[in-house]
Symmetry: C2
Subunit: 211 residues, 2 copies
DNA sequence: GCTGTGACCAGGGTCAACCCTGCTTTTGTT
DNA sequence: AACAAAAGCAGGGTTGACCCTGGTCACAGC
C-alpha cells in the first residue's frame, strides 16, 4: 500500500516496488484515504510519506498511529524528506516494532530498500542510521527550546511573528504584565543574559526560527 | 537521460518514463557524470533535478547551461522541489527554448507530464503555471529591500544578527544617533508604520531573513 | 552654481520593553 | 497533607529604542 501526495514520486515508487517483488495493492494521496484502504484490505506493509495533505505537517505519523491501532499486523514504512528526530523517537517508543523510518534522499540502493521494506513487514524496526546519529548528538546538545514551558513557547512563537507584547497579550487572552513576565523568563531560559551588544528579543526570535 | 541524486526518485522516474513511451538512455547522480553521458550519446531530452550534489545549490541549472552549450539540440526538463523564481527567469531568458521547469510535487498527471517532456524535446518552453503566477506577482511587488541604501542594508543585516543599536554603531564605526536614524529610515522604507500590534524591529529582521 | 541625495550626527522627547519583587490559584508529585 | 512548578497578574522602576526636527558635508547631475 502506498501513500504519498506527490504523484511523480508515488507512481515512481509503485513501479520500483513492483519491480522488486511487491504487489502494490493501493495508492492514496492523503491519510484518510489511506486509512480507509488499509482497513478494507490490510496489506503486509504500508509505505507512507511523512508529510501529507492537508497540512503537510507530519500527518503521516498520525496516520501511521491510526493504522497501527486499527490493523496492528500492518508494517509501516515512513519516508521523510528531512531528518526529524522527534518523529523517529516517537516511532521507536510509541510503536511496538514493525516500523521503518528512512530519508528519501539517503536511499542509495533499491535492493537494500526493498529488503528494509520486507523487514518492516516482518515486524522489525528499521531506522535510517543518520537519524540514529542525530539522536545521539541531540542528547548531548539539547534543544534550547526544550526548557520552555508550553506557554512560554506559545509566547515566543508569536514574538517570532513580529508581534508586540500588546498583540501577544490580546491573542493569548493574557495581560501585558503576564506576557512581560513570560518574555523575561524566555530570555533567562535561552541563556540570553543582559548584554550591551545584544537585542535579546531578536536573538530569542532567531533561536526560535532555527529550532 | 535522467539526472537526480535521489535514487528512489530517479529510479521511480525512470520507470515512469519507460511506461509512458520514452527510452531512458542513461542515469546520473551528479552534473559532471550527466554532462559526460550527454556528450557521449546525446538524447532527445534530459530530465534534471535542479538540486544536485555536491552542494545541492542549484547546480542543475548550471549543468543544464553546460549541456545547452555542448549539445544545443538536447531538450532540458528541470524538476524542482521548491519554487525558485530566479531560476525560472534564467531558463526563460538565457536559454532559447527547448527547456522546461516543473515542480515535483505539482505534477498530478503522468500523461500530462510525459506530454510536457515531449514538448521540451521538440523545442518548446514549458514552465509550471505556479511559477508564472509568482513571476507576475514578483514584478508587482518588488523586493522591499531594494529600496534601502547600501548603508541601511548593512545596518539591517546586523540587526538581523540580533545586535543592539550600540553594537551596530560600534561595528560600523558610527554613532548611536546615526544608527537610530537609519533604523527609522529602514522601517519607513519597508512600510513598517507604527502599529500597536507590531514589533517593528522583529518585523524588519523577518523581512530581511526572507529576502 | 544650484539642487537633490546619501551619509552622518545632535538635542530633546516619548514609551514599549524589560526587570524586580511580590502575590494568588491551580495542578501535579511525593 | 505538603511541596513545587506553572500560570497569571500587579506596582513600581529603568532604559534602550524610536521619533521629530534640524544640521553639515560630499558627491552627482543638470
Amino acid at each position: 500500500m502506498l501513500a504519498d501526495d506527490a504523484v511523480l514520486f508515488r507512481e515512481g515508487l509503485a513501479r520500483i516496488l513492483t519491480d522488486t517483488g511487491f504487489t502494490v495493492t493501493g495508492r492514496a494521496g492523503d491519510g484518510t484515504t489511506l486509512l480507509d484502504l488499509v482497513r478494507a484490505d490490510p496489506p503486509d506493509v504500508a509505505v507512507i510519506d511523512l508529510r501529507m495533505p492537508p497540512d503537510f505537517a507530519a500527518e503521516g505519523i498520525d496516520t501511521a498511529a491510526a493504522i497501527r491501532a486499527a490493523t496492528p499486523g500492518v508494517g509501516l514504512m515512513l519516508l521523510s524528506q528531512y531528518v526529524e528526530v522527534h518523529h523517529a523517537l516517537r516511532l521507536m517508543t510509541d510503536f511496538d516494532g514493525g516500523v521503518g523510518y528512512l530519508l528519501k534522499d539517503r536511499v542509495s540502493d533499491l535492493t537494500t530498500f526493498a529488503a528494509d521494506v520486507r523487514k518492516v513487514a516482518g515486524g522489525a524496526t528499521v531506522i535510517d542510521p543518520e537519524l540514529v546519529a542525530r539522536l545521539v548528538a541531540r542528547r548531548r546538545e539539547r534543544d534550547p527550546l526544550d526548557a520552555l514551558t508550553d506557554r512560554e513557547r506559545a509566547v515566543l512563537a508569536l514574538m517570532a511573528q513580529g508581534l508586540s507584547n500588546t498583540a501577544v497579550a490580546a491573542d493569548l487572552h493574557l495581560s501585558i504584565k503576564t506576557v512581560e513576565a513570560y518574555v523575561t523568563a524566555i530570555f533567562t531560559k535561552l541563556g540570553l543574559t543582559q548584554h550591551e551588544r545584544e537585542h535579546r528579543r531578536v536573538r530569542a526570535v532567531l533561536t526560535f526560527l532555527r529550532a
